[in-house]
Structures are given as C-alpha cells and as structure tokens.
C-alpha cells in the first residue's frame, strides 16, 4: 500500500538537539512568535512544535498500536508517518527531535528529505550539557558521563515495558552532533546555546530567517521577551511543566553558561574532553585543551 500521490512539499522544520541544549527555549520562543496573544504563551501548550517521537501520533497515522510492534518495525514506518503529516498540512510544521539522524533501512532515512524544509540543530558545551542532563534525570553526574560517551544511548529502549514515547536513538554526544551536521540531505542551520544566551537577538533572528517566515525586528524582540528564562521559570513554579522528568525538581534550572565549573572535577572534565575533543574544537568549545566557556 502506498501513500496517495498528492505532491509532497517541503514543509517540515526539524528542531533537533541532544537533550538540554536550548531546544525547549527555542520552541517557547517560536510559539510566542507565531501567536497573536499579548501575554506570553503557556509553556504547557507548545502546540506549534509537536514531538516527533509521539506514540499517539504514530498510532493515529499508522492505524496500528505501536505497543504491538518491534522497535525496528516502528522505525521503518516513522518516515511514512512524517510524510503523511506533511501531506495533510498546508502550513509549516515544526517537530522537536532528540533522535540522531540515521538510516532506518538501506533505502531511507528516519527524517525524509523530500518533506524537510530544514533542520535547526541546537548545540551546547557538553560539559554544561552533562551537568544539566544529570540534574534533569536526577542521576549522579559521574554516571551521566557514560551516557554522553555511550554510542548506543537511546531513550525509551526497554522492550519489556511500555514507555510513553517511541524509542529514540541518540548515540554519544559527538555521534549526535555529527549525524545531524554532516548529513547533506536536509539544509541545516546550527545554533550554539551560548550564542542564544550571549547574542540572543542576533541568534534568534538568524534562525527566523532560516525558517523563512516574515517577522519584524519588534516581533522577534517581543517573542524573546516573552520567552525569557525568568518568565519560563516563573510559569513552571506556578503550574509545573509537563516535559519535566518526575524525579527532577525543575526543568528550567539555571541555563547558565559555564556552570560545569561548579560541579565537575578535573577527572570528570577530562573524560568528556577526551571523548568529544574533535567536535568540541570544531564548534569552539575547546581552545587547544582548555574549555572556552
């Protein structure tokens, strides 16, 4: 059975990142940018940017229960789920992704290029990612080092229980970055978290330009204001945030650059640097052997 041949258009923008790298902040910004409201959008209602590993969407679009399928079967159907969503939408779709970019079989990638307008790839200093990810998962920092270094790392990959999202293969931190930034099938725009913090307007404006939507400087500034860390943190304190993991105290923690210096000892720092040196150098996180941020 093949999907009806209405012409496919490139209308999906993937918002891809390793966890804790600024993806959610950008989604809040985008939601505010696309909303007409005078008040900041609710962090629990980021409907403009759905999650690509949603079990609900998969089940609806395939007509099958993902819980009756193997990980490999699901992977082989996911590209068609995105094709169908693309086909049904007249508008630009934004989809959050934590999977790395990979081939699901000999012939197709998980995220089909013929429906992809582009990918915004968010990258952050892995030393800070480590600290933030450990906090978010409520796990000791030492233990999370092996996660960032693990080429097999995946979310929701237990096959003896039903997890709330589809399996997502991330690989190691470096694998993840390379998978998205080296692929040439989908145009990619890379944003460093540190630039989002230090040069917010410039960084967000470039992303808006890449997406190709017409917004004025004032509209972009307004959306940045409505998605300021203090606003998000206050909203979370008031009503909680549904994307937080149950064990962690809050999702919007500090967002600080260089906070790793307060948490990592020399050995921990070096374990990350040794394993991710090339990618860290390439994106300006290492100057010879010393962290830049």
């Amino acid at each position: 059975m093949s999907i009806a041949k209405k012409e496919q258009i490139k209308n999906i923008i993937w918002l891809a990142s390793y966890p804790k790298s600024g993806n959610t902040w950008f989604r809040v910004f985008l939601t505010n940018l696309l909303s007409d409201s005078d008040v900041p959008s609710n962090i629990n209602d980021l409907t403009e940017t759905s999650i690509s590993s949603s079990r609900k969407i998969f089940d609806e679009y395939t007509g099958l229960s993902s819980s009756d399928l193997t990980f490999e079967e699901i992977d082989r159907m996911r590209p068609d789920v995105y094709r169908m969503q693309s086909l049904e939408s007249e508008e630009l779709l934004f989809k959050k992704v934590h999977d790395k970019f990979y081939y699901v079989d000999d012939n197709q990638v998980l995220f089909p290029d013929e429906i992809s307008k582009g990918v915004i790839y968010f990258i952050r200093n892995p030393l800070d990612v480590l600290v933030s990810f450990a906090y978010h998962s409520a796990r000791p920092t030492e233990k999370m080092i092996s996660v960032l270094n693990n080429p097999e790392y995946a979310f929701c990959d237990k096959n003896d229980k039903l997890q709330n999202q589809l399996r997502q293969i991330l690989g190691s931190w470096s694998d993840h970055v390379k998978s998205w930034t080296k692929q040439t099938m989908i145009p990619v725009h890379i944003i460093r978290y540190e630039d989002m913090v230090n040069n917010t307007f410039e960084s967000f404006s470039k992303a808006v330009k890449f997406i190709g939507i017409e917004k004025t400087e004032a509209q972009i500034k307004d959306a940045i204001g409505k998605s300021d860390f203090s606003v998000l943190s206050a909203q979370e304190k008031e009503d909680g945030f549904k994307e937080k993991m149950i064990k962690s105290k809050s999702f919007f923690r500090k967002g600080k650059i260089g906070d790793w210096q307060n948490h990592l000892d020399e050995k921990m720092k070096n374990e990350i640097i040794t394993n991710h040196k090339d990618v860290m150098m390439k994106y300006g996180y290492l100057d010879d052997h010393n962290p830049v941020f």
Partner: protein, 296 residues
Amino acid sequence: MVEAFTYKAFGLIIKSEFEIPELLVFEGSPDVEIKLGEVPKQLKDITKQGVKYQAAKNEFLLEVDHIAKYYVNNGRQIIVDTVKTTVDKEVRLFLLGSAFGALFLQRGLLPVHGSTIKFGDSATIFTGLSGVGKSSIAAYFVSRGYNALADDISVVNHNLKVVPGFPNIKIWNDVLQKLDFNKESLAEIRPNVKKFQVPINDNYFNEPLPLKNIIIINTKNSPGFEHEELTGIKKFNAIKNNTYRYRFVQGLEKQLDHFQILNKLLPEIKVYRVTRPQSPLLLNEFADFILNNIIT
C-alpha cells in the same frame, strides 16, 4: 467444504475459516464471517488513509508488513490475506485489534480504547493514551478478584451496554512481575515484544453490563493522585478522543453514527479524569484511590 469455527465476542457471533483460540466458542447464525483469501490491492473512492490503512464508505483495508492484509467490509465480513504459512498469533493479534476496530465502527458501535472492569452491577471503562496504564490497572483489579469484560477495546452497544470481548489481558513484563499471576506457560504476543497474553477465564464476566463510568487515565510529573469529573464539551471530547482508532471514523463515514451513540450515552454515564504520577506505577494505591473516590 471448508472447516468452520464459530465464536461469540463483543456481542457478535463470528464464523471463521480458521481457529481463533482467544475467542469463546459459541453456536448460532453468524453476524460476521472471517475468511482467508485475496484482498483488494487498493480501495476505490478512498475517504481517509493512513500509513498502513485505507478507508472508504463501508470498506477498510489494513496492511501489516510481513504478517497479513485485512479487508473489512460492511460490518459483516473480514478477509485475511496472510503471507505466513499458517494463521498464527501474530496474524490474529492485528485481526483482533485494528481490523476488529474497523468492524465495530462499520456496525455503528462505539469502541472505546481501553479495558472494562465490573464493579457491582455495572461496567467501568479505563481509557487514556497508549502507555498510561489501562491494561495494568485492569489486570490489577482482576488480580484482586474483580471481573473484567474486555481489554484494549471495550465495545459499547446500542443499548449502552459494554459487551464482553474475550477472556484475555495483554500485560507488559514489568507489570506482570508486580502481579500475582501464574507466569508459567504465558505466551508473548509476538517473538520480540515482551508483552504477554494473560488468560483470565476465572475472572471473565460474559454478559453485557450497563456502562456507568469512563475513567480517563492521565499522568503527571508530581506525586499524588487527582480526579475530576468532566462535563459538557470536555466530556464529549474526552470520549471522542478515546474512541478506538478515531481516525477510522471519518474514513468509514461514520461520523453521524458515532455522534448519535455518544449523545445517547453521555447523559447516562459519568466521565472522570484521574491523574497519577508518571512513576513509579503504584497499582495498589491507584486502585484504592479509584475505589474510594469514584466507585463508591
């Protein structure tokens, strides 16, 4: 002459050319026939399609790669075209799932995505998103001696009763470990999926029961249980959204039937949203919360 097997499930007498050991044997003139044979390659006048299905008025076609194709028509017939040498449990899994779902919708019944437990003289359906714990809580109630009517698909008929499905609950290995079931001789639903078919013959209630409550299970990332009764449009939408394979409804052009049965049903039942912590899955506490706050 082809051998035939006759069963009763979901209030329907079903005649099948192959054995379906999950279902209860029955006698009588069939409402539905299941055959082996060739299915259409494509449907004509498709009104809705998904990645693995096509729907037209009174016709539905589903394809599960390397397993089978299923053609359901007029709420009366299902043709199974399998690539396997025999009709095994994998072929039956999708027959008793999505294909049956389409069959019920074609007949104007209301299939709710979830499991049904008998409390007193009435039925309560547990529904909600995939992975939220519908089968787990039902299995827990069964382990405490309550009776179940259905798992995964609970069908409400035109008399607003839940009709019994078949005596089986599918449970993931992690939940199975927490429950007091005899784990020997349980079979996985498929070779690489660690979900088990648990027969519940002794705790199966085989008569239709009036539906009293629908409980929509939700999760949250903070401790404690909460509940809320839904009314008005929220109540309507909650059931609409938890209709089994709701996207088929449009394709089969059954919106009017679906709307009518919902409108008839809603004044007769209560609908609650119950929210539990994402983890850990505290089945005992969750069941007590439901018993104390809803099934009073």
